[in-house]
C-alpha cells in the first residue's frame, strides 16, 4: 500500500491510497464519520424566570427561538476536543456524574438586544476550551430579552448523533484509467469541451489526457465520442480519499484515532479468535 498525502491541514485532508481496495478505505471513512469521538454539548440548562443584570434591571428569559432550538443550535457548535484529556462520561471514573475529565461546562449569559454567538459560551475552567469558531450565530435577542444557560459538553460518537460527527464531506473516488485510441480519434475534441474536470486536452492534432488524476469517471467524454476512441475505467485499487473536519479536531488526529479504533477492533477480534483454540 502506498499513501500520498496531497493535503493535510488542520481541517482538511486529501490522500491518494494505492494498492488498496475500496472496502478498506471505506472502513476508514465509516470509522471517522461514525466512530471517532468528539465533544459536543449534550445538556443545556436554561434559567427560567426573570434574569437580573447588575443594575437590577429584569430581563425576560425568552428568545424568538424555542429553548429546544437554542439547545440544538448549541449542540452543533464544534467544541475543541482533545481526546487524550476526556473519557466517555459513562466510562469515567466519576461514574457518570460529570467531572472535569469527562465533561466541559459552559455558561452563556447575554442580554438583549444583541446576537448571541458561539463565542459567547464561556468554558467553566480552562480557557483553552473556548470555542474556536466563535462567530456562529445562535439566536438574536430583542430588547428586554436575555439568555442565561449552562451547557455541558461530553464525548460521543457520530453514530449516536450527528453533533458528535467530527468529520464532514468524507468521500473518495477511484482513479481513472483513460485509454485513447489514437487510431480511431478524429481529434474533433468535443470530448475535451464537455469534460467538466478539464482532464482531456487537445494537443495539436491529438487528444491527450493531461490530468487523469482529476477524472471522476463521469464518462461524458465516452458518451460524447462518436467514434468510440476513449475508454475510461475506474481503478478500484487506487483511491483518492479526502475529508474535512468541523474544526473540533485536526484532520490528522481524526484519521489516527479512526485507525486506532479499527486497530482496536481487529485486535479484539484476534484475541477472541485466539481464545477459541
Amino acid at each position: 500500500m502506498k499513501i500520498d498525502v496531497l493535503e493535510m491541514t488542520p481541517t482538511k485532508a486529501e490522500l491518494v491510497i494505492s494498492d488498496t481496495n475500496p472496502t478498506f478505505v471505506n472502513a476508514i471513512r465509516r470509522t471517522i464519520v461514525a466512530d471517532v469521538p468528539k465533544m459536543a454539548i449534550n445538556n443545556v440548562e436554561f434559567h427560567l424566570g426573570p434574569i437580573m443584570d447588575e443594575s437590577n434591571k429584569a430581563y425576560e428569559s425568552i428568545s424568538p427561538l424555542f429553548d429546544e432550538i437554542v439547545s440544538h443550535r448549541l449542540s452543533l457548535v464544534p467544541i475543541p476536543t482533545d481526546l487524550e484529556q476526556f473519557n466517555f462520561r459513562s466510562e469515567c471514573s466519576c461514574g457518570g456524574e460529570g467531572c472535569p475529565s469527562c465533561t466541559i461546562m459552559y455558561s452563556l449569559n447575554k442580554k438583549g438586544p444583541c446576537t448571541v454567538y458561539s463565542g459567547d459560551l464561556e468554558p467553566v475552567g480552562s480557557e483553552h476550551l473556548k470555542i474556536k469558531d466563535d462567530l456562529i450565530p445562535i439566536v438574536k435577542l430583542a430588547e428586554d430579552q436575555a439568555l442565561l444557560v449552562y451547557a455541558t459538553a461530553e464525548l460521543g460518537r457520530g453514530k449516536d448523533h450527528a453533533k458528535w460527527q467530527a468529520t464532514v464531506g468524507a468521500g473518495y473516488r477511484y482513479a481513472a484509467d483513460i485509454e485513447i485510441e489514437n487510431g480511431k480519434c478524429d481529434a474533433g475534441c468535443s470530448c475535451a469541451e464537455i469534460c467538466p474536470k478539464d482532464v482531456l486536452v487537445k494537443d495539436g492534432r491529438k487528444l491527450k489526457a493531461e490530468h487523469p488524476e482529476k477524472c471522476n469517471l463521469c464518462n461524458s467524454c465516452v458518451e460524447m465520442c462518436e467514434v468510440e476512441a476513449i475508454k475510461v475505467t475506474g481503478n478500484p485499487s487506487k483511491l483518492n480519499f479526502r475529508f474535512e473536519t468541523d474544526g473540533s479536531m485536526a484532520a490528522k488526529d481524526v484519521l489516527l484515532k479512526g485507525l486506532s479504533i479499527l486497530e482496536e477492533r481487529f485486535e479484539q477480534l484476534r484475541e477472541q479468535l485466539s481464545a477459541l483454540e
Binding site: 478498506f24 452543533l76 453533533k163 477511484y174 471522476n216
Partner: protein
C-alpha cells in the same frame, strides 16, 4: 413583461380585491356614496312600502301625529333621487372594545385575537325626525357594530389611521405594525370574530338581469328556454320563458304557480295593442307566424272565457282568476299586482309605472327564444366568464347588512309605535336595539351561514403557511352543488385564461368548482350606467321602435338601449374615450358581429385582466414607460389612465385579438453566445413598428428580431406568468410539467409547513406549525416576491439523489439521511392552544381557576395537579403529556336541585383542561386576560418538537409527494467523490410516468445555484433556459446531465449506474405520523351502548364491521367472532327472570339478592351473557310498549 407585474404589485397588494371591495362598502369622508349609505337610502321597514330611507309611523298609534323619521339622505322632491355627493347619514367609527366595566379603548387586531374579541367598529346613523312637517335636529345614534376587515380603511392598522398629522413613512408604518404585534407580511383582508380570523370567500354567480337562452333536452324533445335572473338590492327572482310544443310562449314567474301565456302577460302589463306586441317581439319575418299564432291563441274564447283576452282588463281578470280564485276582489287585485310588480322581473322596478318596460323586456326575451329557434342565435354559454359575476367581501357585507338593517328598522318602528306617548315624545336612542344588528352580523360571520341560505361563506382563515392564507383569500367558489356532476361547469373554460388559475383547484369532489384568482385580476366595482346611456345618445344611438332592422342593437348591462348604424365606429369611439380617461375605465365594450350587437358592461363583479393596448402593430407602451418601470417610478394607475394598459373583461376579450408575446428572443446572443431566455434581453424599442431591437443583458450587444405583433392585433399579453394563481406560481418551470402535477403541487403548497407568520410566538392559534429552518428556494419564481414567499418560506433545499436504496423508497416512499435529520432537516414545532374561561352562570355562581380540592367531584389525584401554580395555572417550559392538567378549574354543580340536603353545600365539579391524549410537549406560554364580559380568560400554548420520523410526508413543488420509509445513518448512505451525502433518496420510478420534468430541471437548477451561490430564476414561461443550466453544471465541474458517480456507503464500491443528484426544494407537509398514530387496547366506551368509542380523538377502537365479520364466518372462526363482537366490545352479564310468563331483566340488589323488578320473583333468576346493545334494544322496545320476553332453556 415582468416590469409591468412589478409595477402592479408596487401599488396593489395580493388581496387588494377584498380590501378594495370592502372599502367601497364602508362610508368614509372621501367616499360619500358608499354601498352602506346606498342601503340606508333605500331601506324599507317592510317590502310593501313605497317610500325608501324613511320610517313613517302609523298615525293610529301616535295619537294622530304624522311622524316621519328620515335615515337616508334627503331625496329631491321632484325626481325622488338622492344626490350621490350629499353628506352621508351613516358613519362607521374605528374598532373599539367596550370592556365589562364600561371603559372603551381602541382595539387592535392582536388584542382581538388574544382576547377572543370581535374586531368591530360602531356604526352611527343620523335620524331626522319630521313631526307634522316640522324637521327636528338630526340625532346621531349608535345602531350596532360592524366587523372590520383588517387593513381596510377603517382598520386601526391602516396607514391613514396612525394618528399622525402627516402620512407615515414606510418605516414608521412597519415599526407601528411590529409594535402592535403584527406580521409585516400579513396581507389583511380577513375579519376577526371571537378571536378567530375569518375570510369571506368570493362567490361566483351567474350574471343577473341578463337574458340567457338554452336548449333543454327533455323527454326526447328539445325545449327552447330563456331565463332571466333578476336581482335588485339582494332580492333575487328567476323569470323563465319557454316555447311549448304547440308553439305557445309561456312565462313562469316566482311566487305564481303555473305558467302564464306571454301575450296575456304582456297585455296585463298594459301592452294592449297587438301591433305593439308584434313589434316588440318580431325581428325576422320568419317569426311572424309564431307571434300571430300566439296572439290568436289569446283570443280563443274557449280557452280564455268569456270572450278571449283583448284588453289589459281582460288579462288582469284572467290572472286574478288563475292565481286567486274565489278570493275577495281587493285581495285578488293585490295578489296580481304583487305578481306583476314585485315577482316579475324585479330588476326593472317594482312600481306600476314600469309595467310597460317589463312588457317590452318580455318581448325581447321572446324574440331571443325565437331567434334561437330559427338558428340565428346560439345557446348562451353559461360557463362563459362574461356571464359570471364575482361577489367579494364588500358585496357579501352589503347583502348581510341590508337584511340586518331592515330587521333593525322594522324593530325600531315597532318599538317607537308601541312606546309612543305624546308626553315623552320620540326618543330614538332608547328605542333602538343595536344588539339586534350586531348579533345578526356576528352570527353570520361566526357560523358562515349568510343571508340567502348560503353556508360556508365565512371560513376560518387557513394559516398553515403564508401561501395557504393568501390562496384562501383569493379563493372563488361556485354555488353549484358538489354532489352533481356538472361536467361543463368544472371544465376549464377558455375565458378563464388570465382570470382564474388553470391549475389551482382541489382534487376530488370540488374539482373545478372551487377556483382561485390568477395573479393579476381586478373585479369591477361598477359605475353608473346612466352616464353611458347619455353618451350613447350623444353618439347617435336612437331608440328602438321595432326589432325588424338591420341596424346594430346596443345593450348596456343587458338592457337594450337602442340602435346604431355604424357599430365599428361607435365601439372605437367608446374605447378611445375610455383610454383617454373621458370614460370610466370600468366600462367594457364588445361588438358581436354574428349577432350584430354591441354589448357594453359597467356593472360590478366582472373579473377582468390587464392587457397592453396595441394599435397598428405596436404597443402604446414605449421605452420611456419601460425605463420608468425599471427605476420604480412608474405607477400602475398612470398606465391605466394613459390607456397603455387596460382592464378587459371576458366579454370584451371576445372582440380582441391578443398577441401572447411581442417577440421571440433569439436562441443565443449574437455577440456573447449566451443562451438567451426572455429575461436575458431588454426590449429597446417598444411602441415602434417594425423589427424588435433587443439588448443582451449580459454583454450589452444589440440584436434585431421579428416582431410578432401584426396590424390586426388589438392587445398584447402583459406577462404569461400572470395566468397562474398564487400557489401554481410558486412551482418553478411549471410549463415543463404535466398539468395534474402542477395542480397537485399547488395543492400541497397549502399543506406545507414553514414560517406562516413572524409573530408565531404571540399568536394564539388553536393549531399552528412552524418549520425550524425555513429556507428560500434556490430555484425561485418571480411571483414569489409578490406573495412574500422569500420572506415567509415553507420548505428547505434538500440534496436529493434519484436511486433506489434497498427498496425502502418503493411506491413513493422516501429515504432520509438520519444525520441530516439530526442536524434539524425538516424539523418543525407544533403548537396547540388550550383555552378556559371563568364563566359566570345564572344564579351568581362562576367557574374558578384553582387546584381542585379533594372534595370536588371528579377531582384527580394530587399528583396530577403538582405542576400547577397556586392560581391553578401551569407555568411555562413545563414538560406535559397527554392527560396532564394545564388549567385547574372547578365549576358549579350542573343541577342546583341535585341534592336535597340544604346543610352541606353542593359539591363543585372538576372541569380542568388537560392535554389531548396522545399529544405532548412543553408549555410555551400562559396568557391570562379578561374576556369581553369581564371574566378571566386563560390560554395555554403547548408546543411539541417534531423531528421527521418514519411516515412523515414530504413533497417537492411538483406534486411529487412521499412518506419517509427509512432513516439511514450517514455512513451507510451513498456518497459522491466530494463526500456529498444526499438528504433524501427518491425512487426513479417516481418520474417517468408522471412526467414531472420540472422536478428534474429544478434539481439541476438547484445544483447550479448552490455551486454558484445564486438564486436560479424558474419563473413560469420565462425561467432560465435548460441549456444555460447544463452549461453551468459543466463549468462547475459536474457532468452536463446532472448525474454523478456515487459510491455505496456500506460496501464502499462504486455504484455501477450513474446517479442523478441535485438540490431541490422540499416541503414538509402537515400530515405527520405523530398526529395520526393511534392504538387502543382498553379504552373508553360509549355510555349508551357500552361499545368502544369511535375516532382517534376519543381513543376509539377500529370498527370490526360487517364485512370483516362475514370473513370470519367464512372461516368458521366462531371464537374469534365471539372475541371481537362480544368479549372485546359490549359483552355483559345480565340477570334474567326465569319466570316463563315474565322474562324481564332481573337485578342484583344492594343487599346481594336477586329479584325480578317486574314480577317480584326472586328464586328463578339466571345469569345470561349477551351484548349490551341487545339489552338496550329490550329497553327501547319496552319504552314503545313492546315487551320482549326472554324464555330461558338449558343448553341441550
Amino acid at each position: 413583461m415582468r416590469e409591468l407585474v412589478e409595477t402592479y404589485f408596487r401599488e396593489r397588494s395580493i388581496v387588494n380585491h377584498h380590501i378594495a371591495s370592502y372599502n367601497d362598502f364602508l362610508p368614509t369622508l372621501d367616499h360619500p356614496n358608499s354601498r352602506m349609505q346606498k342601503i340606508v337610502d333605500n331601506v324599507r321597514a317592510s317590502p310593501d312600502e313605497s317610500y325608501r330611507g324613511v320610517i313613517r309611523l302609523d298615525p293610529d298609534r301616535t295619537e294622530g301625529k304624522i311622524i316621519e323619521i328620515r335615515l337616508g339622505r334627503k331625496r329631491d322632491e321632484k325626481t325622488g333621487l338622492v344626490d350621490s355627493n350629499a353628506r352621508p347619514t351613516i358613519s362607521v367609527g374605528r374598532p373599539v372594545i367596550k370592556e365589562a366595566n364600561g371603559a372603551t379603548h381602541a382595539l387592535y387586531p392582536m388584542e382581538g385575537r388574544l382576547r377572543n374579541l370581535n374586531y368591530s367598529a360602531p356604526i352611527y346613523l343620523e335620524f331626522t325626525v319630521v313631526e307634522d312637517g316640522i324637521e327636528r335636529e338630526p340625532e346621531k345614534v349608535h345602531i350596532g357594530s360592524l366587523p372590520v376587515m383588517v387593513k381596510s380603511k377603517k382598520c386601526n392598522l391602516h396607514r391613514d389611521n396612525l394618528d399622525l398629522d402627516r402620512e407615515p413613512t414606510d418605516e414608521e408604518l412597519e415599526k407601528f405594525l411590529a409594535m402592535m404585534g403584527e406580521d409585516l407580511c400579513d396581507p389583511g383582508g380577513y375579519f376577526i370574530i371571537g378571536g378567530t380570523e375569518r375570510a369571506l370567500i368570493s362567490l361566483e354567480d351567474l350574471a343577473p338581469n341578463r337574458v340567457m337562452v338554452e336548449l333543454n333536452e327533455r323527454y326526447g324533445t328539445s325545449l327552447h328556454v330563456a331565463k332571466v335572473f333578476s336581482q335588485k338590492e339582494g332580492y333575487r327572482a328567476l323569470t323563465l320563458m319557454e316555447k311549448k310544443k304547440d308553439g305557445v310562449l309561456v312565462v313562469s314567474v316566482p311566487a305564481a304557480s303555473g305558467q302564464i301565456p306571454l301575450i296575456v302577460l304582456m297585455k296585463a302589463l298594459g301592452m294592449e295593442s297587438d301591433e305593439e306586441i308584434y313589434r316588440a317581439i318580431v325581428s325576422d319575418p320568419q317569426m311572424a307566424n309564431i307571434v300571430y299564432a300566439n296572439i290568436e291563441e289569446c283570443q280563443n274564447k274557449k280557452l280564455y272565457p268569456p270572450n278571449g283576452i283583448f284588453t289589459t282588463e281582460d288579462a288582469i281578470l284572467y290572472l286574478e282568476r288563475k292565481f286567486a280564485t274565489g278570493q275577495a276582489k281587493e285581495y285578488r287585485a293585490k295578489k296580481v299586482e304583487s305578481i306583476i310588480d314585485r315577482s316579475l322581473l324585479p330588476h326593472l322596478g317594482d312600481t306600476p309605472d314600469v309595467r310597460l318596460k317589463k312588457a317590452i323586456f318580455l318581448g325581447r326575451v321572446a324574440k331571443t327564444i325565437l331567434e334561437m329557434e330559427l338558428g340565428k342565435r346560439k345557446e348562451d354559454d353559461k360557463d362563459h366568464y362574461a356571464n359570471k359575476r364575482l361577489k367579494l367581501a364588500g358585496d357579501l357585507m352589503e347583502d348581510l347588512f341590508r337584511v340586518a338593517l331592515t330587521n333593525l328598522i322594522k324593530d325600531l318602528k315597532y318599538q317607537l309605535e308601541r312606546g309612543y306617548t305624546r308626553k315623552k315624545g320620540l326618543r330614538i336612542s332608547s328605542a333602538i336595539r343595536p344588539d339586534l344588528l350586531t348579533h345578526r352580523l356576528l352570527h353570520a360571520f361566526a357560523t358562515g351561514n349568510w343571508v340567502g341560505g348560503r353556508a360556508g361563506v365565512s371560513q376560518l382563515l387557513d394559516r398553515t403557511s403564508n401561501m395557504s392564507a393568501l390562496s384562501h383569500l383569493r379563493r372563488v367558489t361556485s354555488p353549484l352543488t358538489r354532489s352533481q356532476p356538472h361536467f361543463e361547469a368544472r371544465d376549464l373554460h377558455p375565458t378563464q385564461w388570465g382570470r382564474l388559475c388553470p391549475n389551482e383547484t382541489p382534487e376530488g369532489q370540488n374539482c373545478g368548482l372551487v377556483k382561485n384568482c390568477a395573479l393579476i385580476v381586478d373585479v369591477s366595482e361598477g359605475t353608473d350606467e346612466k352616464e353611458i346611456i347619455w353618451l350613447l345618445r350623444d353618439l347617435g344611438v336612437r331608440e328602438v321602435s321595432e326589432h325588424q332592422t338591420t341596424e346594430t342593437r346596443v345593450y348596456t348591462n343587458g338592457d337594450l338601449i337602442g340602435l346604431h348604424d355604424k357599430p365599428r365606429e361607435l365601439v372605437e369611439e367608446i374605447r378611445q374615450r375610455r383610454r383617454s380617461g373621458l370614460l370610466s375605465s370600468e366600462v367594457n365594450i364588445r361588438f358581436d358581429l354574428n349577432m350584430n350587437e354591441i354589448i357594453i358592461n359597467c356593472d360590478e363583479g366582472r373579473l377582468r385582466r390587464p392587457l397592453l393596448v396595441v394599435r397598428n402593430g405596436s404597443t402604446l407602451l414605449t421605452r420611456k414607460h419601460l425605463e420608468e418601470m425599471h427605476s420604480a417610478k412608474a405607477k400602475w394607475s398612470d398606465l391605466i389612465r394613459e390607456g397603455v394598459v387596460e382592464w378587459v373583461d371576458a366579454e370584451e376579450e371576445e372582440d380582441s385579438y391578443i398577441a401572447p408575446m411581442a417577440y421571440n428572443p433569439p436562441e443565443e446572443c449574437e455577440h456573447c453566445n449566451k443562451v438567451l431566455s426572455v429575461m436575458d434581453v431588454d426590449w429597446r424599442n417598444p411602441g415602434e413598428v417594425g423589427k424588435v431591437s433587443l439588448e443582451c443583458k449580459s454583454c450589452g450587444g444589440l440584436m434585431q428580431t421579428e416582431s410578432l405583433l401584426m396590424e390586426d392585433h388589438t392587445h398584447l399579453e402583459t406577462d404569461p406568468m400572470v395566468i397562474l394563481g398564487v400557489c401554481s406560481a410558486v412551482v418553478p418551470y411549471p410549463e415543463h410539467n404535466s398539468s395534474p402535477r402542477v395542480t397537485m403541487g399547488s395543492g400541497m403548497a397549502k399543506q406545507s409547513l414553514g414560517l406562516s407568520s413572524s409573530n408565531y410566538r404571540i399568536r394564539p392559534d388553536t393549531r399552528s406549525h412552524v418549520l425550524h429552518y425555513p429556507q428560500k428556494p434556490l430555484v425561485t419564481t418571480k411571483p414569489m416576491e409578490f406573495v412574500s414567499f422569500d420572506r415567509r418560506p415553507a420548505g428547505q433545499n434538500f440534496v436529493v439523489a434519484i436511486l433506489s436504496y434497498q427498496g425502502y423508497n418503493m411506491e413513493d416512499a422516501v429515504i432520509m439521511n438520519k444525520s441530516s435529520v439530526e442536524r434539524a432537516l425538516g424539523r418543525s414545532t407544533f403548537m396547540r392552544t388550550y383555552r378556559a374561561e371563568e364563566r359566570r352562570y345564572p344564579g351568581g355562581q362562576e367557574d374558578h381557576f384553582e387546584i381542585p380540592s379533594p372534595d370536588v367531584r371528579g377531582a384527580r389525584a394530587d399528583l396530577s395537579y403538582s405542576s400547577l401554580g397556586e392560581d391553578g395555572l401551569i407555568s411555562p417550559e413545563t414538560r406535559v403529556e397527554g392527560g396532564d392538567v394545564l388549567i385547574g378549574k372547578t365549576s358549579p354543580p350542573r343541577f342546583l336541585e341535585e341534592e336535597a340536603d340544604f346543610l352541606t353545600p353542593q359539591k363543585r365539579r372538576e372541569t380542568s383542561v388537560t392535554v389531548r391524549p396522545g399529544e405532548k410537549g412543553w408549555v410555551d406560554s400562559v396568557m391570562l386576560t379578561e374576556s369581553e364580559n369581564g371574566s378571566r380568560l386563560v390560554k395555554v400554548k403547548v408546543r411539541d418538537e417534531r423531528t421527521p420520523e418514519l411516515g412523515d410526508k414530504f413533497a417537492s413543488r411538483h406534486g411529487q409527494k412521499g412518506v419517509v420509509g427509512l432513516l439511514v445513518d450517514q455512513q451507510d448512505m451513498p456518497f459522491t467523490e466530494d463526500g456529498v451525502v444526499p438528504d433524501l433518496l427518491i425512487n426513479p420510478h417516481a418520474v417517468p410516468s408522471r412526467m414531472t420534468v420540472a422536478h428534474v430541471l429544478e434539481m439541476i437548477g438547484g445544483k447550479v445555484g448552490s455551486m454558484e451561490g445564486r438564486i436560479i430564476d424558474g419563473t413560469p414561461f420565462s425561467g432560465e433556459r435548460e441549456e444555460a443550466l447544463r452549461a453551468a453544471l459543466v463549468e462547475n465541474g459536474f457532468k452536463h446531465n446532472g448525474k454523478e458517480v456515487m459510491y455505496d456507503g456500506i460496501t464502499g464500491r462504486m455504484i455501477e449506474a450513474e446517479i442523478f443528484i441535485g438540490v431541490i426544494y422540499y416541503q414538509k407537509l402537515h400530515h405527520m405520523v405523530s398526529g395520526k398514530l393511534h392504538v387502543r387496547s382498553r379504552g373508553p366506551v360509549q355510555i349508551l351502548t357500552r361499545q368502544p368509542t369511535e375516532g382517534r380523538s376519543r381513543q376509539g377502537g377500529l370498527r370490526f364491521g360487517e364485512m370483516e365479520r362475514d370473513c370470519l364466518i367464512g372461516h368458521g372462526a366462531a371464537m374469534v367472532i365471539r372475541d371481537r363482537l362480544l368479549d372485546e366490545s359490549d359483552g355483559t352479564l345480565q340477570y334474567v327472570c326465569g319466570n316463563s310468563n315474565c322474562g324481564h331483566i332481573a337485578i342484583l340488589d344492594r343487599r346481594g339478592s336477586f329479584r325480578c323488578p317486574v314480577c317480584g320473583n326472586n328464586s328463578k333468576i339466571y345469569q345470561v351473557q349477551t351484548s349490551y346493545a341487545f339489552k338496550l334494544l329490550l329497553d327501547e322496545l319496552l319504552s314503545l310498549g313492546v315487551v320482549m320476553r326472554l324464555q330461558l332453556e338449558d343448553l341441550k
